[in-house]
């Protein structure tokens, strides 16, 4: 890779050992991914979580060494050009009376927040930074962690980010560069498979089903959706999250919606493949069935807000819960960014949800925290997919309304 004098100097230690290490990560990663240079980055979304139960059973040394590196990262100022926000944690910083919110880990996370803020990071603690102010413009070069947000940034906003991990996003935040490869380059943003959508998509979860279906066949490719209307923000969020769950997708095109794809032709750079896969009403039904494996009707958890809920989704949930009560023994979790919850508090939605027995969980989600659950109803395909392995739970994925009905009845009573 061609490095400038300044980049070469940093690599050789001109700004200290940690930044040299950061530069080594970027350069080595760039070489592996066949980048030819580093380019300026304007926007990052980084992972700064203490491991908590993510590393259940890990030694104290492992936990300490892991956090020590995050602390070191937060001792350096972020690059002045960069808008740097922070991904979810594995604990909530709010008071939460569950044993999984380990006080020692919460304290370690609080200390990290203090350092992060001082160095210039904005502790949004969300998987959906585009809901709380980090909305990159078309063409803006970003370094984002959270694969669902990466797909959203590339496909819906027309920004440019490869999928980043902890070290690369930290290095980008502090140094202000990223290796130029993958979807940062025009030629790698071309569609690789064509999906004709004939199914009627009525809800964000239906769009999640489309994403889950497409991710399974796309692998690391770039699916192009044709025949669909413009999704709402909440629908686009579900589509992008599911694509990055069942597949290794970095971006998709929605013909007529993705900024650089006004038509299928534009998405494929005029080489529209003749073969295509159809997503029909039957595919829609079958995709839901992939993540419905209950051996009984009684449920103990309803998890909404994966990815983190928008204020509009919280308003809808509050309307469905108003004056009602969640069934005894059922936990209703609505995950959201702290900034979104502040709006919900202000608008009275939090009070309605709490009076009904639900709660808005900030900074994290129950799956991240490893809150035990045996049978979960959720409106997020991503949540359903991962909860099976991470929590060992049975899952039922469904649209938001039947999820709420299940919460009120304490059992899954179907869609109608």
């Amino acid at each position: 890779m061609d490095l400038t004098k300044e980049q070469q100097d940093i690599l050789e230690g001109s700004r200290g050992e940690f930044l040299a290490q950061c530069m080594r990560w970027l350069v080595e990663w760039g070489e592996v991914m066949r980048a030819r240079r580093l380019v300026a980055v304007d926007n990052t979304h980084v992972l700064l979580p203490v491991p908590n139960l993510m590393a259940r059973g890990a030694s104290r040394t492992t936990m300490e060494r892991y956090v020590a590196e995050l602390r070191e990262a937060c001792r350096h100022p972020t690059h002045p050009r960069c808008y740097c926000t922070v991904h979810t944690a594995f604990v909530t910083l709010d008071d939460l009376d569950v044993p999984e919110n380990d006080p020692e880990q919460v304290q370690a996370q609080r200390e990290l927040v203090g350092l992060a803020v001082a160095s210039g990071f904005i502790p949004t603690f969300t998987c959906a930074p585009y809901l709380v102010g980090n909305v990159p413009l078309r063409g803006e070069v970003c370094a984002w962690t959270e694969s669902s947000a990466v797909v959203y940034a590339n496909s819906i906003l027309g920004a440019r980010t490869t999928r980043h991990g902890t070290e690369s996003a930290i290095a980008a935040s502090l140094l202000g560069w990223v290796p130029e490869f993958g979807v940062l380059l025009d030629e790698n943003r071309k569609g690789s498979l064509r999906i004709e959508v004939t199914a009627a998509l009525d809800s964000p979860t239906d769009w999640g089903a489309l994403g889950y279906f497409a991710g399974r066949i796309a692998g690391l490719g770039i699916p192009v959706f044709n025949g669909v209307r413009r999704p709402s923000q909440d629908e686009a969020k579900q589509l992008c999250a599911a694509l990055a769950t069942s597949g290794g997708v970095t971006m998709c095109h929605i013909a007529g919606v993705t900024p650089e794809a006004p038509s299928p032709g534009a998405a494929f750079r005029e080489e529209v493949p003749t073969d295509f896969t159809v997503f029909s009403d039957t595919s829609l039904r079958e995709t839901y069935q992939l993540l419905r494996n209950p051996t009984g009707d009684e449920i103990d958890s309803v998890i909404l807000g994966c990815p983190h809920a928008s204020i509009r989704e919280i308003a809808q949930i509050a309307a469905l819960l108003k004056g009602r009560k969640v069934a005894e023994g059922v936990s209703l979790w609505i995950n959201a960014a702290r900034a979104t919850k502040a709006s919900a508090d202000f608008m009275g939605y939090t009070a309605i949800i709490e009076a009904a027995g639900g709660r808005i969980l900030c900074d994290t989600c129950p799956t991240n925290m490893r809150v035990p659950a045996r049978r979960i109803v959720t409106d997020g395909f991503k949540q359903a997919h991962y909860a099976r392995g991470m929590l060992g739970a049975e899952v039922i994925v469904a649209q938001t309304e039947p999820c709420i009905r299940a919460a009120l009845h304490g059992r899954w009573i179907g869609n109608e």
């Binding site: 990663w29 592996v32 259940r56 990466v150 999928r163 991990g165 902890t166 690369s168 490869f181 290794g248």
Partner: protein, 152 residues
């Protein structure tokens, strides 16, 4: 003892490692589908569910999904449960980053089908400096008194 089978590929992340192969013609997400502390695959219905990749040469199509891949590999490495090496068909940028940060050799872009030539239990030497993989079949290992034990 017959000669090991040789597969050539691209040494993506440099280094040399060897161990018993764990093979699946499938993708795997290190987020949510593995436990970094035990080194086991926990994804329900995954062909490797319940298997441990700790110290083994993990042969899969590619990793998938999550930006937490390097983080999970780091936790596994700190716990001594990381794979010895990765052999993949395709290079997922996040697996590459995780391997760089945690010094795990990785080879991809192979000249032959690894799922035909490598089976779980075979002994595999991964030389990512030269982009070479040498496979000694488990059957050969069992027949040969001087062979490596394919036990866990």
């Amino acid at each position: 003892m017959s000669k090991p089978v040789r597969i050539n590929g691209r040494g993506v992340v440099k280094g040399r490692a060897e161990g018993i192969a764990l093979v699946a013609d499938a993708t795997l997400s290190f987020w949510g589908e593995v436990d970094p502390v035990t080194g086991r695959v926990i994804s329900v219905g995954h062909p490797l569910q319940g298997e441990s990749f700790a110290g083994r040469v993990l042969v899969i199509r590619s990793t998938r999904g999550s930006s937490a891949t390097p983080m999970i590999l780091k936790l596994a490495k700190l716990e001594g449960k990381a794979p010895a090496a990765l052999v993949n068909l395709e290079v997922d940028a996040l697996a590459a980053l995780g391997c760089i940060v945690n010094r795990i050799p990785m080879v991809a872009d192979l000249d032959q089908d690894p799922f035909t030539l490598i089976a779980t239990g075979d002994y595999v030497v991964v030389d990512a400096d030269r982009g070479v993989i040498l496979v000694t079949k488990a059957s050969v290992l069992c027949d040969s008194p001087a062979g490596h034990s394919p036990g866990r």
